[in-house]
């Protein structure tokens, strides 16, 4: 949380400053959309370790972070990536090989946890999950929770409705608030103070930002403050919540950024092929992540031609007719 000052930084500096080993992190976007991939790759390049990650369906960025060995614990609703990888491959492998600790929630529960964090309350109630193993099976034990002041003492709590059946509910599930140390999102437009305008769906980005102690915004364009302020109702995030603003064109690549570019089906199908094999995945990391000095260099490997293919159509916001087979 910072205030009224210019916050433009390089991505390297922003990650170095705000993502520290062992910190609690969340990233924006949803499956194939607006994941802050440039930031994710930079975190991998800076070899950050032992991150505690909060995710709803931010499967793709999270999967790379797991693949890069950055994450040791994850609270997650969905480790999948649409058709390209119905279960995220490095996530699946890391769990099956017992390389990470994990705890399952539903998408709504995770969204509510960020919402509670943004609201400054300890929990929020829902009727989702009653009778399921999501409530019964914990990933983190009470003992482990007791040793970590950054974790609530319980996964979840069931409460009899204190308003005697009001709204037809006999009981509710209370999910505890999340306040990450750092949230990173990628947006279409931001000004140099951090006010953001997200185009298309906003997923849970806004609550993730407001719940977080520090926030890095990467953006396609840094735009004029006066332009954003002509329509303040379209700016979901005011600058007061933002710590750093980084200009990264194609910052969500290989995923989509509505009105700018589509996901890259070629990259995605290649990447999931590599991910399935430990040796190939290592080679993939060496070439596309560690082997490049920044996102721009990754884009230059991909090539202009492919980037043009995924350029968004003005009318639809995506690459109309893109070959996605």
């Amino acid at each position: 949380m910072d205030n009224n000052r210019e916050k433009v930084m390089t991505l390297k500096d922003a990650i170095r400053t705000y993502v520290t080993d062992g910190c609690h992190i969340s990233i924006g976007g949803f499956t194939v959309s607006r994941n802050p991939m440039a930031a994710v790759f930079e975190i991998m390049r800076q070899r950050k370790r032992n991150l505690h990650c909060y995710a709803h369906s931010n499967g793709t960025g999270v999967d790379e972070l797991i693949g890069g060995g950055c994450i040791s614990k994850v609270e997650i609703a969905y480790g999948g990536n649409g058709k390209a990888a119905p279960t995220c491959i490095r996530f699946k492998s890391a769990i099956q090989k017992r390389e990470i600790l994990f705890e399952d929630y539903s998408n709504y529960q995770m969204s509510l946890r960020f919402h509670a964090g943004a609201m400054g309350v300890p929990f929020i109630a829902t009727r989702s999950g009653l009778g399921t193993d999501i409530l019964k099976k914990w990933g983190f034990s009470e003992e482990m929770r007791a040793t970590d002041p950054k974790l609530p003492d319980k996964k979840i709590e069931i409460l009899d409705n204190p308003f005697n059946g009001w709204t037809g509910a006999s009981k509710v599930v209370l999910v505890p608030a999340i306040n990450p140390d750092i949230t990173i999102i990628h947006v279409q437009k931001a000004d140099k103070y951090g006010t953001c305008r997200i185009e298309g769906l906003n997923f849970a980005d806004v609550d993730q930002v407001k719940a977080s102690r520090h926030v890095i915004v990467t953006c396609e364009e840094i735009v004029d403050t006066n332009m954003l302020r002509e329509k303040p109702e379209y700016n979901q995030i005011p600058f007061i919540h933002v710590s750093a603003v980084v200009h990264v064109p194609y910052g969500a690549y290989p995923y989509e950024c509505c009105n700018y570019y589509d996901y890259d089906p070629k990259y995605l199908s290649q990447a999931s092929k590599f991910a399935k094999d430990d040796r190939l995945y290592k080679e993939y990391l060496e070439k596309f992540v560690y082997g490049v000095k920044d996102h721009e260099e990754l884009l230059s490997i991909v090539g202009k031609e492919q980037l043009e293919r995924i350029a968004a159509d003005k009318r639809t916001g995506y690459a109309t007719g893109l070959d996605r087979r």
């Binding site: 480790g79 099956q96 919402h115 769906l201 109309t320 996605r324």
Partner: protein
């Protein structure tokens, strides 16, 4: 007219959608079924996604529920909080029909999309709930797509991710869930409904050329087959719609 199994499954699901329904779609065949229903039998149904898009225009098939194709031409684009609230809220939620898939389903329509084996040390890990547990908790009607294999219809789930009828009649209410629950399981062999009284799965339709016995052999638990009828194959017009309008590039079908 010849048709594929996937096409048949799509049409069987589309038939379960009523005009005016708000259809919660996941990735893949559920989207195709919802699109088909809109073109065939439920023109005023509304397609919506957990990501926050309501009444998406879907000029092209989305590959994920966050695909920009679900954002295009929608009535409103918001976020997860709004979309799940739409289902949890009884006023709007009672109009929603969910379409889900899973790795396992039991005889009460409970779903596992989390893991095979012990939760903390699974042999196979899947994606996890996503929004499935939420939808299954909230909405009065759900369709479930499954491949008909013995291990996918177990007596006991390895992990109960999304609630069906839990352990039978009245169990949802006892657990504190809203009434409702799954209405149909649509597989590559037939369609199962749930008994009004016992909430147990029973065979409602077997596909042309499929024996009820074959269906039973592909499940760990047995179901009542006495009410089963042969499913009516898709009409020529329906297949044309699927092939020419809904999924011309065969991205899903």
């Amino acid at each position: 007219m010849e048709y594929t199994l996937k096409e048949l499954m799509t049409i069987m699901a589309a038939r379960e959608i009523q005009d005016g329904d708000i259809v919660f779609c996941g990735t893949g065949i559920s989207m195709v079924a919802a699109m088909a229903a809109k073109h065939i039998n439920a023109p005023n149904s509304i397609i919506f996604f957990e990501t926050g898009a309501i009444d998406s225009r879907l000029e092209e098939i989305p590959m994920a529920v966050a695909d920009p194709r679900v954002m295009f031409g929608a009535a409103s684009n918001s976020g997860l909080l709004e979309s799940f609230a739409t289902m949890q809220n009884r006023i709007s939620g009672d109009h929603v029909i969910g379409i889900l898939g899973a790795a396992q389903v039991d005889k009460y329509g409970n779903l596992n999309s989390t893991c095979i084996g012990e939760y903390l040390h699974p042999q196979i890990r899947f994606s996890g709930s996503g929004g499935a547990c939420d939808v299954a908790s909230f909405v009065p009607r759900c369709l479930i797509f499954m491949q008909h294999e013995k291990r996918k219809f177990p007596v006991k789930l390895d992990y109960l991710t999304s609630p069906g009828y839990l352990d039978g009649a009245g169990a949802r209410e006892r657990a504190g869930l809203m009434p409702g629950g799954p209405t149909a399981v649509i597989t590559n062999l037939g369609v199962m409904y749930f008994d009004d009284d016992t909430k147990e799965m029973y065979l409602a339709y077997y596909y042309p050329g499929v024996l009820s016995q074959t269906i039973l052999e592909n499940m760990e638990f047995s179901v009542d087959i006495s009410r089963a009828k042969e499913a009516e194959p898709p009409a020529e017009q329906d297949l044309k719609i699927l092939r020419e309008i809904v999924d011309p590039y065969k991205l899903i079908l």
